[in-house]
């Protein structure tokens, strides 16, 4: 069985041996990168700099909260708002693999700039097993290029350090609990962020729609969990679909966008079953979304696909 304490001790001593000088950790504020930062911080202390990039595709208030988290963890950190840069890089891009690769490359270039200024040689990433498995290579087919693996440019100057490479999310959570990190139960959020929850072009306007819808899904589901109506799903969010549909809102014809709701149950993301959300909760989510987003969204659908054949995210 996986033992968190043993893993922590072994990893810290490996990191002490493996890193000479300064390191940068790519810090999204999710479970994986937070655990990584905590472990490397224990190994090399203030030689570590956490870098959080606001890509513009983060959830509501997320980057603000991540900043607080970095302060609370007493990390040396850099906060970079690169929203405009990301938005313009994704302008006109529709293909999901292309989106992921552009985002992966952008992240690395930003990290390289920081590294150059700070004379850093190592890049620490919270890559976990499903990231490199699904990114493919050799005999293995590419399911999707995770931005931190398949999205890495071929040539990069930084040396990669990935202490969580061989473990899965449920094991990372065990480490987070052992380290007393309050992010331990946070739902996973993909590195490319909301950009891959917008099917088609991820414009700033469409990002705002999906950001609001994701926030509503999270709030309604968390409220339902609080009331004991359901268990917390592994992941739960909204997807903005690239189609429009006809409706009627206030006696007027509507022709708006469609939001898909996705919620799945899993322990490691390698297989998933769609969550059986109670109808009353689905009802509340649907009404909340259409009443809030008005003429922009006039239809909500629920995704009833397992993995396989689907994946958790749509892109």
């Amino acid at each position: 069985m996986f033992k968190a304490e043993k893993f922590i001790n072994e990893t810290i001593s490996k990191l002490k041996e493996g890193i000479s000088g300064k390191a940068l950790v790519a810090f999204s504020g999710g479970v994986d990168s937070t655990v990584c930062a905590a472990l490397v911080n224990k190994a090399i202390g203030k030689q570590l700099i956490a870098v959080h990039v606001d890509t513009g595709y983060m959830r509501k208030n997320e980057s603000k909260n991540v900043k607080k988290l970095m302060e609370k963890m007493d990390l040396n950190y850099r906060f970079i708002d690169a929203s405009d840069e990301f938005y313009s890089a994704l302008k006109g891009v529709l293909e999901p693999e292309k989106k992921r690769k552009i985002i992966g490359k952008k992240f690395i270039r930003i990290f390289e700039n920081v590294a150059e200024e700070e004379k850093i040689e190592y890049l620490v990433q919270g890559t976990i097993a499903p990231d490199w498995i699904e990114s493919g290579g050799g005999l293995r087919d590419t399911i999707k290029s995770h931005h931190n693996v398949g999205g890495l440019p071929e040539k990069m100057k930084l040396k990669l350090v990935e202490p969580l490479r061989d473990i899965y999310k449920d094991e990372v959570r065990k480490i987070a609990r052992a380290l007393d990190l309050h992010v331990s139960e946070r739902q996973p959020f993909p590195g490319p962020g909301l950009a891959i929850r917008i099917i088609g072009e991820a414009t700033p306007e469409r990002t705002e729609l999906v950001r609001e819808a994701c926030d509503i899904v999270e709030k309604e589901i968390e409220a339902a969990v609080e009331k004991g109506l359901m268990e917390t799903p592994w992941q739960y969010f909204a997807v903005l679909l690239p189609i429009k549909s006809v409706g009627v809102q206030g006696d007027k014809r509507a022709y708006g966008n469609v939001i898909g709701i996705r919620a799945v149950q899993s322990i490691d993301a390698m297989t998933c079953a769609y969550s059986k959300i109670p109808n009353d909760v689905i009802d509340k989510i649907s009404i909340h979304i259409t009443n809030t987003l008005k003429e922009k969204i006039n239809r909500v659908v629920y995704d009833v696909t397992n993995k396989p054949p689907g994946t958790v995210e749509w892109e």
Binding site: M1, F2, A129, I133, E134, G138, L139, R140, D141, I143, D166, Y168, S266, I267, D268, M270, T271, C272, A273, T305, N306, K307, P308, P309
Partner: protein, 190 residues
């Protein structure tokens, strides 16, 4: 400690097989399917898992050195998905694209009790991901389990400790997956 290696045929769940074995306190390692049987014998392994994979090996083509292991090994071998297909074809069966492929949730029905299914009820939920299947059973084998859309979900060699599974016991959503792995570990442990 029982020592079982996982032969990597490029499956999405190869690493899950490794993890399940590791969680059962088995000494395990993922090795490429190009490793020779000799190199495996030097390591003194007690059993082998042939992983699934993206390559579709219906009618021809090898799965690395899997043929060599199946021809000469005397230790137990568990073929999963593509590993199971190859085992079927190697021993003279026929592998074909499935008329009705299965992805995700499927109900498994055990037809013949066997040590591999010790403690697994007659009907249980398993998780699948296949486009092809063993359509004709090799003569030396018997069928252990089926599903509604796939007649050969599990098979066993009549004289050798070789098992083939169409479904994936290594993933979380297969109800009795860990149990099946544990049974395989016991079979290897003798």
């Amino acid at each position: 400690m029982v020592k079982i290696y996982v032969i990597d045929n490029g499956g999405q769940w190869t690493h899950r097989e490794w993890r399940t074995l590791r969680d059962l306190d088995v000494e395990t390692k993922i090795v490429p399917n190009t490793i020779s049987l000799n190199d495996l014998l030097i390591e003194n392994i007690d059993g082998l898992v042939l992983s699934g994979g993206a390559p579709r090996i219906c009618l021809e083509g090898n799965l690395g050195n899997c043929g060599e292991y199946l021809e000469k090994a005397d230790f137990p071998i568990l073929g999963i998905c593509a590993g199971h297909h190859f085992m079927g074809r190697f021993f003279g069966g026929v592998v074909k694209p499935s008329e009705m492929p299965e992805f995700g949730k499927v109900e498994l029905k055990i037809l013949k009790q066997n040590k591999l299914f010790d403690g697994v009820p007659e009907k249980s939920i398993v998780w699948e991901s296949h486009n092809d299947e063993v359509a004709k059973l090799p003569r030396a084998f018997k069928i252990l389990a089926e599903s509604e859309s796939c007649r050969i979900q599990a098979m066993k060699h009549q004289n050798k400790p070789f098992y083939g599974l169409q479904f994936h016991p290594e993933v979380e959503h297969t109800e009795f997956g860990e149990r099946i792995f544990n049974n395989f570990v016991k079979i290897c442990g003798k």
